[in-house]
């Protein structure tokens, strides 16, 4: 019997167990939510101690990025991310993990051609399209301002 690509596609789909969404989604919500809650707590604390809202926001980001980089370096972030999935990927900590893990990995190839050129391998698309999106947003904002 000839196995055609179409038949094999069906066989493959039937044999592949699906991800356990009933575990993964609640865990992503809880851990991702936990990270955001930590951010909120920090933000409120800074504001409580008299910081301006914008400065408090910046400090919150700095601390979350630092903690993520530290956890990545200690090998803890990947262990949490294994259970959290999008919960650790989506917040700013996921971005920091992408940058730090690439940098750690490239250390053996030196500071310039290793770390220097590979640090944004994962974060690169976020930086590029994040910047591009903000430029487009800025253009639209200017246009709307002209008419309002």
């Amino acid at each position: 019997m000839k196995i055609t690509p179409e038949l094999y596609k069906d066989m493959t789909e039937q044999s592949a167990p699906s991800s356990k969404s009933y575990v993964n989604i609640p865990l992503a919500f809880l851990i991702g939510g936990g990270i955001c809650l930590l951010g909120e707590v920090l933000l409120n604390l800074f504001e409580y101690f008299g910081m301006e809202a914008e400065t408090a926001g910046s400090w919150t980001s700095v601390i979350l990025v630092f903690l993520s980089a530290l956890f990545t370096g200690l090998g803890w972030y990947e262990k949490i991310a294994k259970h959290a999935g999008a919960g650790t990927l989506v917040p700013i900590t996921g971005f920091a993990n992408g940058v730090t893990s690439s940098a750690i990995e490239a250390c053996t190839e030196g500071w310039i051609l290793g770390v220097g050129s590979k640090i944004f391998t994962i974060a690169g698309p976020v930086i590029l399209y994040g910047t591009a999106a903000s430029v487009i947003y800025g253009i639209f904002l200017q246009i709307f301002k002209c008419f309002s």
Binding site: M1, P5, K9, S15, T108
Partner: protein, 337 residues
Amino acid sequence: MAVSLGRGAFQIKEPVYITSYAAVVGKKEGEGPMGKCFDRVETDSYFGQKTWEQAESRMQQETIYHALEKAALSPDDIDIILAGDLINQCTSSTYSLRPFGVPFLGLFGACSTMAEGLIIGSLILSSGAGKRCVAATSSHFSTAERQFRFPLSYGGQRPPTAQWTCTASGAVVLDTQTENSPRISSVCIGKITDLGVTDANNMGAAMAPAAADTLTRWFKCSGKSPENYDAIVTGDLGKIGGKLFAEIMMKQGYDVNPCYHDCGAMMFDAETQDTHAGGSGCGCGGSILCGHFLPLVKSGKIKRMLFMATGALMSPMLVQQGESIPSIAHLVEITGE
């Protein structure tokens, strides 16, 4: 000499013996259900080196030395070394063999390398072009991850179909004289097979058709069937690929289930070791062949077996370009004396 049985299939008439073999693995593999069968379990994943690539080279080198020591041989006694691995330009093998000073042929067949080495080695020896050769291969979780996937400390979630690249190496010494050793009696070179699987996280599914194609071709040209074997072993199809392989074979009219084993499915305990669909990598099939199956053939518990190392000939670049994953499986028939 080798007698052709069909396209790419040969019976090795001049006896080629597996004189000696060795397997060295990493910590996680040592903690798995097969942990006790290996010659050495190294707990330092760097193998005393500074980088992952150096670590893999070192592991392969130690495995070859182990195999040579077990046969009381030195590199000078070897006519040719056939070795390969997963890393670009086969550097784990070239750096491993740099100090040996032995004629070398580098092989790339992804995870099918162990069988590829055994096939080429037995054809060379049976032609009289050499007296003794070594076939070796290795894979390292960390070198493979960084080349094919993500940095090690990147936080990602692996799907249930994903496999775990084994930190493992296997080496075999072949010769034409040592009787009372397992013997390579026939070989069958695999064809590149591609049934359109594009998911790099489901390599077992990509490779299963290649293994089924080679085995079906082998049964047709040799006139043999699964009943002729005590064990039919695939390299690293894992649990999902192994199931698909048995299913395809069933559709071809061969029930392999009674004697079928997959080294990838055997290597880890998926429940406690979090390895999802099983182990993979050149070293997976190589180390379990050398650590588990060859001793069973030697002791007479297995009289006749088929070893089919399976390789996904994947390049991350081509997968990103939308290509599917071509695969290959080479077959080696091993008989006890």
